[in-house]
């Protein structure tokens, strides 16, 4: 029953949206508000009862925070007081002794953050492992300004600076230099974006446009996931674990040398995850499993040239419940879906550095993905070639330029809900870019200017320039400002797709006619790119070795955003007869968003570190343009929460025991009727032996379950539940 109610509100949202159109032909939606608010409440509130309850649990929350703080401070202060007296006298030690000392953390790579004129945030592999994150989206919850929300167990909506959806189309994601953004649906299928968590070297998140370097669709952000190089810092290992949600998980990694100059990593990984919270009474059916495997080889061809070859393949099955429209009574159906998911990729990168500092990189990859269920059935292949060259002209001027060509081929089997015309398409896109870095005053004032020219076979030429200026008013203080333009190219769906989105029952409030209405979203082949001009300012500071601060403010202006316009109703004479109400996907809307993002880190001692983040945004102020915006519909392009807060604390309680805690507050997603929530994670890691680590992780501990987001595609949201997991990691 609840599902049907839920669907009614969906239909209502669509119709309400249409009603905003001046040119509306739909007299029958003249009173959309008459659909009982009682009904809506029933549909919206009941599944989220858990969320409301956290208010009652504010005491619990306070205790949890207190626990983190007490744990952290006590540890910090005891170490601080011990530091002087019990320290080893390093100055008196011999080299041999020094070589025998085990140190707490050995940072592999530096983040030269203070010199980036962008809102960049880096999650290190170490942080991710300590947090107990089991998926990449889990890890991304730590990043300030990102909104990460589960729709169900295997679906996420992830976005920066608004416009969130399960196909959040303004965020570009790359894994080891390979884009994983789907040109077919404009978005990222997060369920298949996975690596061995232990292999992650770092995740760089740039909020705001990154199109000059990264290309189209890097509108609101770029997420760049990099895995470690096999070799020196990696070992052969085995991980096995089990938990209340992840029934079984295991991974095996081999790491070893190949010849004199190369090293190889081979891995396999498998997990089987349970259904999310089913306490609302519906069998959520969102359990899923996936297996993946692959390798990465890194080798030196000569002193100055390197090669990387890597590949992954995966296969899995994910379940979900969908509410889908039906042209026959009762006009909505619940589909229990099992989606078959497969894919793979292979990439080779060759880089050569000359003595004079010239660096050339050539990268080529092939990527394919396929999904099959009754809702959608497609396969896609991507071929990509990139070249990049960077060099210094003088000590003040650096240049980077390059270009690339990509070919996408996809095939969509028309189904009841999605069809494409033509069903199969091959399309190419080429780009060239150049960027200069000029130190106006060396070490003080730096200017970066660049542009990308991108030619898309379907949408023509896009120009995506940007300018950044960076100033160090004093050592360890950085001020920066930037202006940049980025575009989101239309997906195949936007131009050639047809989505059966709702069926309005006959003789109903919204449809007084005696025959049902089939509401269909239609892509229009004239659709252009959505575009953005963003203005950003930022300040970054290292107050001391232990404290860093980072504040960013942004103002974004979007033009030609997706919108909807109702077309002429058509009568379909098939039996049973129905009226087709086409709704054209256009791009006629404008929007503005602005906000602030803050990140701070404080290392109270070598063993204790706090990280704090807060973001606030004012969304969609001053909507303009014609038509109905996607953003005004209940579940398309949600403005997301206006406030987000998180605290991460990690302490080495003893040399071999680490405790890491996280607390997150996410404000309500108002348009979706999703309440705010507070939740927390806790991980205990115990290095029993140098080769053996045991860990216990609890995730989303502060409530039994909470709902985070509603899908725009009829996928039924399930509650993110409290879950526990134990892992054993053995270095072989």
């Amino acid at each position: 029953m609840e599902i049907i109610l839920e669907e009614l509100t969906n239909i209502e949202a669509v119709l309400m949206g249409m009603n905003l159109l001046k040119s509306s032909h739909m007299e029958f939606v003249s009173e959309p508000h008459n659909i009982s608010t009682e009904l809506r409440r029933g549909a919206c509130w009941r599944p989220f009862q858990g969320v409301k309850e956290y208010m009652m649990n504010s005491l619990t929350v306070r205790i949890f925070v207190f626990a983190i703080l007490v744990g952290g401070f006590l540890n910090g202060s005891t170490w601080a007081s011990q530091a002087g007296s019990e320290d080893l006298d390093l100055a008196q030690m011999s080299l041999e002794d020094l070589m025998d000392i085990k140190v707490t953390s050995v940072s592999k790579k530096a983040e030269k953050l203070s010199d980036a004129a962008a809102a960049i945030y880096v999650l290190t592999g170490e942080e991710i492992r300590k947090s107990g994150a089991r998926t990449i989206p889990d890890a991304l919850r730590m990043v300030p300004g990102l909104h990460v929300a589960n729709i169900d167990g295997s679906t996420w909506a992830i976005s920066a600076r608004g416009f969130n959806a399960s196909f959040s189309n303004k965020l570009l994601v790359l894994i080891d230099g390979r884009t994983v953004y789907s040109p077919l649906f404009s978005g990222v299928w997060w369920d298949v974006q996975d690596v061995l968590m232990e292999d992650i070297d770092r995740i760089e998140v740039i909020r705001g446009p990154g199109a000059t370097l990264w290309g189209a669709n890097a509108v609101n952000g770029v997420i760049n996931i990099t895995t470690k190089q096999p070799g020196k810092s990696q070992e052969t290992m085995l991980v096995v674990g089990s938990g209340t949600y992840e029934r079984g998980a295991g991974a095996l990694r081999y790491n070893g040398p190949v010849g004199n100059n190369g090293s190889l990593r081979v891995y396999g990984k498998y997990f089987d995850r349970n259904e999310f919270d089913a306490s609302s009474g519906i069998d959520t059916k969102d359990d899923w499993w996936m297996g993946r495997g692959g390798f990465r080889y890194d080798g030196a061809l000569s002193d100055l040239s390197d090669i990387t070859v890597q590949s992954d393949v995966y296969n899995g099955k994910a379940g979900a419940n969908y509410v889908v429209p039906d042209i026959n009574a009762p006009y909505t159906t619940v589909l229990q879906e099992q989606t078959d998911i497969t894919g793979g990729n292979i990439l080779a990168r060759f880089s050569r550095q000359s003595q004079s500092g010239n660096q050339h990189t050539v990268q080529v990859y092939f990527d394919q993905a396929a999904r099959k269920d009754t809702w959608v059935d497609f396969s896609r292949k991507t071929y990509d070639l990139d070249y990049q060259h960077s060099f210094g002209v003088s000590s003040q001027l650096d240049v980077i330029w390059g270009g690339g060509y990509r070919v996408n081929h996809d095939k969509v089997t028309s189904g009841l809900y999605i069809s494409m015309n033509p069903t199969e398409r091959t399309y190419g896109l080429g780009n060239i870019f150049a960027q200069i870095d000029y130190a106006i005053v060396p070490n003080r004032l730096e200017l970066t200017l660049g542009t990308k020219l991108e030619y898309h076979e379907l949408t023509d030429l896009e120009i995506q320039p940007s300018g950044h200026i960076l100033w160090h008013p004093a050592r360890d203080h950085t001020l920066w400002a930037s202006v940049s333009r980025a575009v989101r190219t239309p997906s195949r769906v936007d131009r050639e797709g047809e989505l059966f989105i709702a069926a309005v029952p006959p003789l109903s409030l919204a449809n007084p006619t005696p025959i049902p209405v089939k509401v269909v979203f239609r892509g229009i082949s004239e659709n252009r790119s959505e575009n953005l001009v963003a203005y950003e300012v930022g300040y970054r500071s290292t107050l001391s070795n232990r404290i860093t601060l980072d504040v960013t403010g942004f103002y974004s202006r979007y033009n030609d955003l997706l919108s909807l316009a109702i077309g002429e109703p058509e009568f379909d004479e098939n039996y049973p007869a129905y009226i087709i109400l086409p709704v054209d996907i256009m791009n006629t809307r404008d929007a503005e968003t602005y906000g602030v993002e803050f990140a701070g880190a404080w290392k109270t001692s070598e063993r204790v570190e706090f990280k704090l983040s807060y973001s606030h945004q004012w969304s969609y102020a001053g909507f303009g343009g014609e038509g109905v915006s996607f953003g005004s519909l209940k579940s398309f392009e949600s403005p997301g929460p206006s406030n987000q807060f998180s605290l991460y604390a990690t302490t080495e309680v003893r040399r071999n025991i680490n405790v890491t805690t996280q607390i997150r507050y996410v404000d309500e997603v108002e348009r979706q009727g999703i309440s705010s929530y507070v939740t927390g994670d806790l991980r205990l890691g115990w290095q029993v032996l140098p080769q053996l680590e045991l860990s216990v992780t609890g995730q989303d501990l502060l409530e039994k379950s909470h709902t985070e987001f509603i899908s725009e595609m009829g996928r039924i949201s399930t509650g993110v539940e409290r879950r526990f997991h134990a892992d054993l990691k053995l270095a072989l």
């Binding site: 649990n57 619990t60 205790i63 949890f64 207190f66 626990a67 983190i68 007490v70 744990g71 006590l74 540890n75 005891t78 170490w79 011990q82 019990e86 320290d87 080893l88 390093l90 100055a91 011999s94 080299l95 041999e96 020094l98 070589m99 025998d100 000392i101 085990k102 140190v103 707490t104 050995v106 940072s107 592999k108 530096a110 030269k112 203070s114 020196k232 002193d303 550095q353 003595q355 004079s356 500092g357 000590s395 060396p442 070490n443 050592r475 360890d476 290292t542 070795n545 070598e606 063993r607 302490t651 309680v653 003893r654 040399r655 025991i657 405790v659 806790l682 205990l684 501990l701 039994k704």
Partner: protein, 180 residues
């Protein structure tokens, strides 16, 4: 109720860990404290060519270029130390132009992007270059730190050392991984 129980357990767990900590053993030194000690030790096993004109003959000057990762660990180590009769000093800079007047230059990881240019400036100078930038020695630096099994190791580029004219003692070479 179960929530409260859980929180209580979590709290207990943390306080337990904290309590254990009070009686815990001496802490492992931080990565950069150890690297600072290495840096100081290196100076004992390197001989600078005598013909280098140096007005400040009584000083052995170490310079850290880039974002200082040591905090004050380096000062702590070298405070009051003498190597071969010379007092050891340390200074910090961000400008590549300034580094030529020092005996030892530690290049911080923040300078990775300009490393090649910096090494070019330093070619054929009697300056010991040390860094923990990845593959520093492979890229033409003299001594590079790397990590192995949470311990700090170093590698020496013998050719680069030869070009600088520095004499590196066999003991240091024996402990290092050699890059040629």
């Amino acid at each position: 109720m179960r929530r409260l129980i859980f929180t209580f357990v979590a709290l207990l767990c943390l306080s337990f860990c904290t309590a254990m900590q009070v009686g815990a053993q001496a802490k492992a030194p931080s990565e950069y404290a150890v690297k600072a000690a290495f840096l100081y030790n290196f100076t004992k096993f390197v001989e600078w060519p005598p013909d280098v004109p140096d007005e400040k003959d009584s000083l052995l000057q170490i310079c850290v270029i880039g974002e200082n990762p040591f905090g004050n660990e380096l000062e702590n180590i070298i405070e009051g130390m003498k190597v071969g009769g010379k007092s050891v000093t340390v200074s910090y800079t961000r400008s590549a132009e300034e580094i030529l007047s020092y005996d030892v230059v530690f290049i911080a990881q923040s300078e990775e992007s300009t490393l090649d240019r910096m090494l070019k400036i330093l070619t054929n100078r009697a300056i010991l270059t040390v860094s923990d930038i990845d593959d520093f020695a492979e890229r033409g630096g003299t001594i590079g730190f790397f990590a192995e099994d949470d311990r700090i190791r170093f590698e020496i580029n013998v050719d680069a050392a030869e070009e600088t004219g520095l004499q590196i003692s066999s003991k240091l070479l024996r402990l290092a991984r050699i890059v040629d």
